[in-house]
């Protein structure tokens, strides 16, 4: 009974977080912000450590710390690219590696204090679904529902600024604010997902479902639906597998599951995939 309850929580949490990542990842991929997602997730680590040192292990506080650190990281990337001649890729590399190192240094301090694993901070590195409690699942559900509601409410505006921001601005939409809204939603999704996938691999959970979904469907509505579904599958599979075998970290399992979905999609998607491409070329070759 007890085991079942844990496994149900783990599966539910994994499914919800996977779906949310797939949902938001659609926008991250279409806006070309995949690697910014990677930077944000790495940058969150020192925030988690500092929040723990200041306020203890309340999960909400830890997430808040993660969010603040990720936000500082994003601002720093922006500041480096706007005030120096360092390009965005290098700026992201610098911030990503530095913040991650700061996080690791702080975690090793906490660890030597002797209560890092009790505090469950290790789970933020490679992800650990087994630690999911009913409160975590509730929090994910509520925040996820709020995010989904906001995106659906501003659906056409978000679609427009993603496809053609200049046209949106010329039509009087406050593109900067909408950008900020979308970036904030994505950041919240990333921070929530860290406990499942970990800071190193979160980017995979964010973008793999969206990339896989894009191969099968041709409209934004269908893409975001399918991406959420694929994310849900990957999240649940990874969470349950690692929940059943405590030795395996959740993040890597989820990423492998999601990557298999991507591989299948890239090869077999009708009208677009690699195999379709071969078939098309052979047909054209035969005709000419």
């Amino acid at each position: 009974m007890n085991l079942d309850y844990t496994l149900v929580m783990v599966a539910l949490g994994g499914a919800l977080l996977g779906a949310l990542s797939g949902f938001l990842g659609t926008f991250a991929v279409l806006r070309g912000q995949s690697l910014m997602g990677d930077t944000l997730s790495h940058a969150a680590l020192p925030g988690i450590a500092v929040a723990f040192l200041l306020a203890g292990r309340d999960p909400l506080i830890l997430l808040l710390g993660a969010g603040i650190a990720a936000w500082i990281g994003a601002q720093m990337v922006r500041a480096i690219t706007t005030t120096t001649r360092i390009k965005e890729d290098a700026a992201m590399g610098i911030v990503l590696a530095s913040f991650f190192a700061l996080g690791i240094a702080l975690l090793s301090y906490i660890q030597k204090r002797g209560d890092a694993s009790q505090a469950g901070l290790d789970k933020f590195i490679f992800g650990q679904a087994a630690a999911m409690t009913v409160n975590d699942v509730l929090l994910i559900g509520i925040v996820g529902a709020a995010i989904t509601l906001i995106v659906l409410m501003f659906w056409k505006e978000l679609k427009l600024i993603t496809f053609d921001p200049a046209f949106a601005a010329a039509n009087g939409y406050p593109v900067r604010w909408l950008d900020l809204l979308l970036a904030t939603l994505i950041a919240v999704g990333i921070v929530l997902g860290l406990q499942l996938a970990g800071v190193i691999l979160m980017v995979g959970l964010l973008i793999a479902p969206a990339v896989a979904a894009r191969q099968w469907v041709n409209t934004l509505g269908k893409m975001i639906t399918l991406s959420s579904l694929l994310g849900m599958v990957a999240g649940m599979v990874g969470a349950v597998l690692s929940g059943a075998d405590r030795g395996l970290p959740t993040g890597p399992l989820i990423i492998v599951a999601a990557s298999i979905l991507v591989l299948i999609s890239i090869f077999f998607a009708p009208g677009r995939g690699v195999i379709y491409g071969w078939w098309l070329r052979r047909k054209q070759h035969g005709l000419s």
Binding site: G32, F154, E157, F163, F167, A170, N171
Partner: protein
């Protein structure tokens, strides 16, 4: 070069006064447009030509407040852009968006209606009908449900034009609509421009091909960071002005010599 105020008391479709736009390069400001004065009367087709880097696209973007202005003022029908936005349509460069975006042709055209739809509201049946009608106008009715990544360059351009048409504006800005399009599309665009003029609309087109300027446009502006000349094609599009706008580069362009003689 600035028309005197007595020349036309009615408000011009577009009136640019002393517009300077700067871009920042390694922390230092460089002018992209330099103290530009321009007046476009209502109901004309105006071509904007000039060498690469002359600030043609910048002129449009700064007018639409997509870029910050260092100095100067832009008026549309005598009003600010904020007040006149519904009357202004915009066709960005085709290359400025990702054509692998998951959406259909009809959906892109409907984006032209978002501006007047207001927040949160979704497009409905009349909007679809309106978008479909615009697609018919540009000859893409059969492509309404096609994924935009499956369009040719010319079809992409016509999709953008259809999107501008549903905006039902009085003044249109088009950024290089003729760039790298097929002959069918080029004819379709020219036909569309003439229809718009017949309806009394004003169209301002950034253009590259000097040999077609006198055929397509009523008025032309020669731009090279400053206004070199602006006005009716037969008065302004002279060898002398072209020489001023393009400098030495003109000598290499055979097509221009023919235009100057015409």
């Amino acid at each position: 070069m600035t028309p005197t105020i007595s020349e036309n008391l009615a408000h011009a479709a577009l009136e640019i006064n002393d517009l300077t736009v700067a871009y920042i390069q390694q922390g230092s400001q460089k002018p992209a447009l330099w103290d530009v004065d321009l007046r476009v009367p209502e109901g004309v087709l105006m071509g904007i030509v000039g060498p690469n880097g002359a600030g043609k696209s910048t002129l449009i973007k700064a007018s639409l407040e997509l870029l910050p202005r260092a100095a100067g003022d832009v008026r549309f029908f005598g009003r600010s852009y904020h007040q006149a936005r519904r009357q202004v349509g915009y066709v960005p460069q085709r290359g400025s968006v990702d054509w692998d975006f998951p959406t259909t042709v009809l959906d892109v055209v409907m984006m032209g209606l978002y501006g007047r739809m207001g927040w949160v509201r979704r497009p409905g049946k009349p909007d679809r009908a309106r978008a479909f009608q615009a697609l018919e106008q540009v000859g893409l009715a059969d492509y309404a449900d096609r994924q935009i990544s499956r369009l040719s360059g010319g079809q992409q351009q016509r999709t953008f034009l259809a999107r501008a048409l549903v905006q039902d504006a009085q003044l249109y800005f088009m950024d290089e609509p003729f760039a790298a399009v097929d002959a069918v599309t080029e004819r379709a665009i020219v036909e569309l421009l003439r229809q718009l003029r017949q309806q009394g609309k004003t169209v301002i087109v950034v253009h590259h091909d000097l040999s077609t300027v006198s055929e397509y446009f009523d008025q032309v502006t020669l731009l090279n960071r400053e206004i070199v000349a602006s006005g009716p094609v037969n008065q302004v599009f002279t060898d002398q002005n072209l020489q001023k706008a393009y400098g030495g580069r003109l000598n290499f362009n055979v097509g221009v010599g023919q235009v100057g003689a015409a």
